[in-house]
Symmetry: C2
Subunit: 286 residues, 2 copies
């Protein structure tokens, strides 16, 4: 998915939010935002939206040093998610279709996204889960997903955000022979609240499956910015599970066998997918 | 009021909206938005927010020619407002305090603001009026306003938006000896949906009172951009009635005896005024 004109105000919002998160110094914040606007003014529209998110955080690192401004927020949401792990697990165990329930839970976790949600909003995780369990899929390739997942030998799971990654664990644990078949990829560098190897560790994923870093600092999967190890992994996977908007935006036009699991949280993505804001999706790339 | 960091995403949104309103050509829209971002990246933060609105519309005029992209929308809201004139007039006539009711109606009209509201939202005018009649003022200098308006000899009324200007007429008609005492100032050039002389004509104001153009193309009252005639008028007025956010943003630090009548529609203004978003205000400049 390319950059739409409608993405521009969101870029500005992200820059202001991230500047505020990364420094208390008004002059430094202003400098970051000005640099980001300059970058936005020149960004080629054939890039994907996460390209701009990546640029914003590069500007922040150049300006205030190699910080992780969302660290505290990420830790907090990992903890919040861990606190309801038992509850989520029980929902799966008591459901008629364990895999579908786990898919829905993984999508519910996608609400924890500070690229979209402002950092001061309060997210009620269990309410979101309840709602997501009942909601019809706006795009529903679940049956095909269910069949493919049985047959796939090498599955690459592209994590999205911290906190959300515990919800991903719930789904991973429902994949047959997951310890052997599933590799999880996290970001190679902190960017917004995207999950890194540290978040995978906090939610216990590193003890369950192989977790690799994708080598990139983009809030999505921009292949040109990924490591050779990651590219080899995605090239050799039978099936890729892609969580969230950033991964959709960057892989919707790729060549891989990807299933996109996400909640459409912005009007631009909703239009691109032909759904409504708030809709949930499990979509095979065609 | 100076530009806050929180204004920046709104500038980007305004640029995208205005670009979409002024041309259907995607390349031209992109050009406008890129120019606006470049301008925003460099704007001094000691300017007021309407300065950026002015720059955006200057970019549009330079790019697509001297258009009035909001013309149709302005005509439509003038008409909508005219349609309920009798209803509004009756509310004043049947009220215990005619002046206060008229002030509230004038503030209710301030909801018609396409600098803030997206152009595709539907505004239910009579519902907004009903709500505004009951709402307590978050800042209430009405008593003083009421006393000063009795004594003032020369009153300058700074209109804000088209449509809204019919609501202003309701208030103007309650000012003692208004035909002699009140001058209304409208914008010197179309900008967003701000009222121009044409809108004053459409709602019948030009037949009631003296209406002058302020000579400026800013969505507010940036004195450096106003005509000599306007400056002389404001210098010699005993009392200035300033409608809406744009006029507040540009005159809150001026030297004049201004009463600001507005609805706080954005979080930045709300913080600046120490009120909540949605609050209504009649505030004497101190």
């Amino acid at each position: 998915m390319k950059i739409y004109l409608g993405c521009i105000p969101c870029f500005a919002r992200q820059a202001v939010e991230a500047a505020k998160m990364s420094t208390n110094n008004p002059a430094t914040r202003e400098k970051i935002v000005r640099e980001a606007l300059k970058k936005a003014a020149a960004i080629p529209f054939d890039k994907t939206p996460p390209h701009m998110g990546m640029e914003i955080h590069r500007i922040i690192r150049r300006t205030v040093g190699d910080t992780d401004p969302y660290k505290e927020l990420k830790d907090r949401y990992n903890k919040k998610a861990i606190d309801i792990y038992g509850e989520l697990k029980k929902l799966v165990q008591e459901s008629d279709n364990r895999l579908e329930t786990a898919v829905r839970i993984a999508i519910a976790g996608n609400i924890i996204d500070f690229g979209i949600t402002t950092t001061d909003s309060i997210i009620h995780l269990t309410e979101v889960v309840e709602e997501t369990l009942k909601k019809p899929f706006a795009i529903n390739d679940f049956e095909q997903f269910s069949r493919e997942i049985e047959k796939a030998n090498r599955i690459l799971y592209l994590a999205d955000n911290a906190g959300e990654i515990l919800f991903d664990r719930i789904l991973i644990e429902e994949i047959p022979d997951y310890t052997r078949k599933v590799t999880v990829a996290v970001k190679g560098h902190p960017v917004i609240n995207d999950a890194t190897i540290e978040d995978a560790r906090q939610v216990g994923l590193t003890d369950l499956v192989r977790v690799i870093e994708n080598g990139s600092d983009a809030p999505g999967t921009i292949l040109e910015t990924c490591s050779r190890e990651f590219i080899e992994e995605i090239e050799h996977s039978d099936l890729v599970i892609s969580k969230g908007q950033g991964n959709y935006e960057t892989l919707s036009e790729s060549k891989y066998n990807v299933y996109f699991l996400l909640k459409a949280k912005c009007p631009v993505i909703a239009v691109d997918l032909g759904v409504e804001v708030g809709d949930i999706i499990i979509k095979k790339r065609k």
